[in-house]
């Protein structure tokens, strides 16, 4: 079976979908030369569906909204996480509201792809954000695939979805490889999570690249405690039923999330659990701190504000003990 990398999975999903649906096109910066490895080969195959843009993120995000209303399915690639903050208004206040404001007359099927969210070692404080929680808070459909298979399947579903969808691809996941047979690649519906590793004593909900760390920690602790790892895969919609089923069995919950703590995804999961689920022990979050800004250019400082495996181990042990 071939080894499929995460980046290659994104490329393949986009290629397959452009092949299948002539309305799909891609726009962004330096995509002719596929700097992020997502658009490799597309210019040759679909010369008039690869739009190389100047540095006008707000302009081309709005452009995508208009093209989508006009019947196309734009995929917009962004080079850096902060660029999604730069176009937040265009996505959350415009693209995501036109359907409502038109009383259902239009649809706006745009996919926003960020191949590289989170810490970029060396690149500084302005290049290391994890803003997925912001989009989910504002009601924009948001997915964050952890594996190559999921990257393929969720990206495909995002493109086919009739609403705006943001696809966050964690920087550390891009180089991951997986044994996959191409024929097994398929769309994965939004809002369906996955138990990555079954366990009985505690549920660890992990987001994005941290899924792999959670599994590693679970394996490491296997003799001591039986950890179930749950990957929600999409944040909005969120697979609450899937999480509830897991917690129902384990009775304990830890969230492992690279977003900021205050009002982050970890907060939402703990809040919902507190409201609706029966827990045998107080749940815990392992996240970036409140208000965290990752310095981004001194690994010592950067890692200090990102959630770590050691923190997860400590949290699991604390939750299981109490």
């Amino acid at each position: 079976m071939p080894k499929l990398s995460y980046a290659k999975a994104l490329n393949r999903a986009l290629t397959d979908e452009m092949e299948r649906d002539p309305d799909v096109f891609v726009l962004g910066e330096d995509i002719r030369f596929a700097l992020n490895n997502v658009t490799t080969g597309l210019l040759d195959r679909f010369p008039d569906r690869v739009l190389e843009t100047p540095l006008s993120e707000q302009g081309f995000t709005n452009f995508a909204t208009g093209a989508a209303m006009g019947g196309k399915r734009p995929v917009v690639e962004y080079q850096i996480p902060f660029l999604l903050l730069l176009v937040l208004e265009q996505i959350a206040n415009q693209a995501n509201k036109f359907r409502l404001m038109s009383g259902g007359q239009v649809k706006v099927p745009v996919t926003y792809l960020l191949p590289g969210t989170g810490w970029r070692p060396g690149w500084g404080a302005q290049h290391s954000d994890q803003p997925y929680g912001v989009f989910a808070h504002l009601g924009v459909k948001t997915v964050i695939p952890a594996t190559p298979t999921d990257a393929y399947g969720l990206f495909l579903s995002a493109i086919r979805d009739d609403d705006p969808v943001v696809v966050f691809c964690p920087m550390p996941a891009l180089a991951l490889r997986e044994d996959v047979s191409y024929v097994d690649l398929a769309p994965i519906p939004l809002g369906v999570g996955r138990v990555c590793r079954p366990g009985d004593d505690v549920t660890v909900l992990a987001v994005g690249h941290l899924v792999h760390d959670a599994v590693a920690v679970a394996d490491e602790l296997a003799g001591e405690v039986s950890v179930e790892v749950f990957d929600p895969r999409s944040l909005h919609p969120f697979d609450w039923a899937g999480l509830a089923a897991s917690v129902e069995r384990t009775g304990r919950l830890v969230v492992f999330d690279d977003g900021n703590r205050f009002c982050g995804v970890g907060a939402e999961v703990l809040a919902t659990a507190a409201e609706e689920m029966r827990l045998a022990a107080a749940p815990k979050r392992v996240t970036r701190p409140d208000a965290a800004v990752v310095v981004g250019c001194a690994p010592e400082l950067d890692l200090a504000v990102q959630p770590s495996r050691a923190q997860l181990v400590a949290a699991i042990q604390a939750v299981v003990k109490s």
């Binding site: 100047p54 302009g59 452009f63 995508a64 208009g66 093209a67 259902g104 239009v106 809002g191």
Partner: protein, 346 residues
């Protein structure tokens, strides 16, 4: 280029818009139009001339001062008014109101409340439509919009990619209280020209002059020669928004308003139509508007249970129960009528 419509047609459009806005002001006073409106009284010549130059399947993106665009493109006055009054019979089922409406049946694809941002949306729309035919997109915005970076970005994209889009600037001299010269270093047309976009400045009070300039720009776009910008000089006789009727804002001289009233598009066009024809048109318009008001006010108000409808095209489950009874809403006592309809700025 299509033939210029008869003088009476322009007259009818202008008169319809004028009277529609006046009816709206009544409905604002009665509390039926909760948002207040941004009246386009004085600017009707631009709407009439611009929209007459379009094919029905061309796409227009409007803005906050957009009632004229809707009526000039043939939106049903009853359904449009039902929208402004928040009724389910509205063109957007009551989900848009006066500030963000769209009516695809009349070729109006929306009105972004983010001033200036419709220009790039129209550019994308024009690009998409051009791939499947020869439809043209139009973006209408005010003089305030040309200081918004996102709009200037759209000039660049439209020019680079030769998109069939016409940028229409209704320069009415003010962005709310800000005089255009205090907001715009250089000029409106000069900004488009800097991006290689042909741009002209044209009298917006004469609908036939507007039509000619717009028809040329539309032909250019349809012929594959890319974008252009037409700046129409015009004026609003009313305040920025009906809230100005309750405030004294001394940002312009009465004498200036009076000077512009001498070039009222309604009078300019009336002079070209024989009085009996005008009278017949006027009478018909009153009937249409009477019926429209009736239709709007008889249309049911939305059911609170439907509040999450149309949020998504591919629906997802939304947690958090919707709350039905209107009376028990969390509005602090003492906030009163000012709160009810806002007293700030559009």
């Amino acid at each position: 280029m299509s033939a210029r419509p008869a003088a009476a047609a322009f007259y009818g459009t202008i008169r319809l818009i004028r009277r529609f806005e006046e009816r709206c002001v009544d409905l604002v006073r009665s509390g039926d139009i909760g948002s207040g409106i941004h009246p386009c009284v004085g600017q009707e010549g631009v709407a009439a001339g611009v929209c007459a130059a379009l094919r029905p399947d061309d796409a227009l993106l409007s803005n906050h001062r957009g009632h004229g665009h809707f009526l000039a493109r043939g939106s049903d006055p009853g359904r449009f008014l039902a929208e402004l009054t928040g009724r389910v019979g509205g063109v957007d089922r009551g989900r848009a109101g006066s500030f963000h409406p769209s009516d695809l049946s009349a070729g109006i694809w929306g009105a972004s409340g983010t001033v200036g941002h419709g220009a790039a949306i129209a550019t994308g729309l024009g690009w998409a439509l051009a791939r499947d035919g020869d439809r043209v997109a139009v973006s209408v915005f005010g003089d305030g919009a040309v200081s918004q970076g996102a709009l200037l970005e759209s000039f660049n994209l439209a020019s680079l990619w030769r998109v069939p889009v016409v940028f229409v600037c209704e320069n009415n001299g003010y962005a709310t209280t800000l005089p255009a010269p205090a907001g715009i270093a250089g000029s409106v047309a000069g900004r488009a020209a800097a991006f290689g976009i042909p741009a002209s400045t044209v009298d917006g009070q004469d609908p036939e002059v507007v039509y000619d300039a717009m028809a040329a720009a539309v032909d250019r776009a349809r012929g594959g020669d890319g974008p252009s910008l037409v700046e129409f000089t015009t004026y609003r006789y009313e305040g920025h928004h009906t809230f100005e009727r309750r405030m004294r804002l001394a940002y312009r001289e009465e004498a200036e308003v009076a000077r512009w009233r001498e070039r009222d598009p309604l009078a300019i066009q009336a002079a070209r139509v024989p009085p009996p024809v005008r009278e017949a048109i006027d009478a018909e318009i009153e009937e249409v508007l009477d019926a429209a008001v009736r239709f709007a006010l008889e249309s049911p108000r939305p059911d609170p249970a439907d509040a999450a409808d149309h949020l998504y095209a591919t629906p997802v489950r939304i947690r958090g129960s919707l709350f039905a009874p209107l009376g028990a809403a969390a509005v602090p006592d003492g906030a009163g009528p000012q709160f009810r309809w806002g007293f700030s700025h559009a």
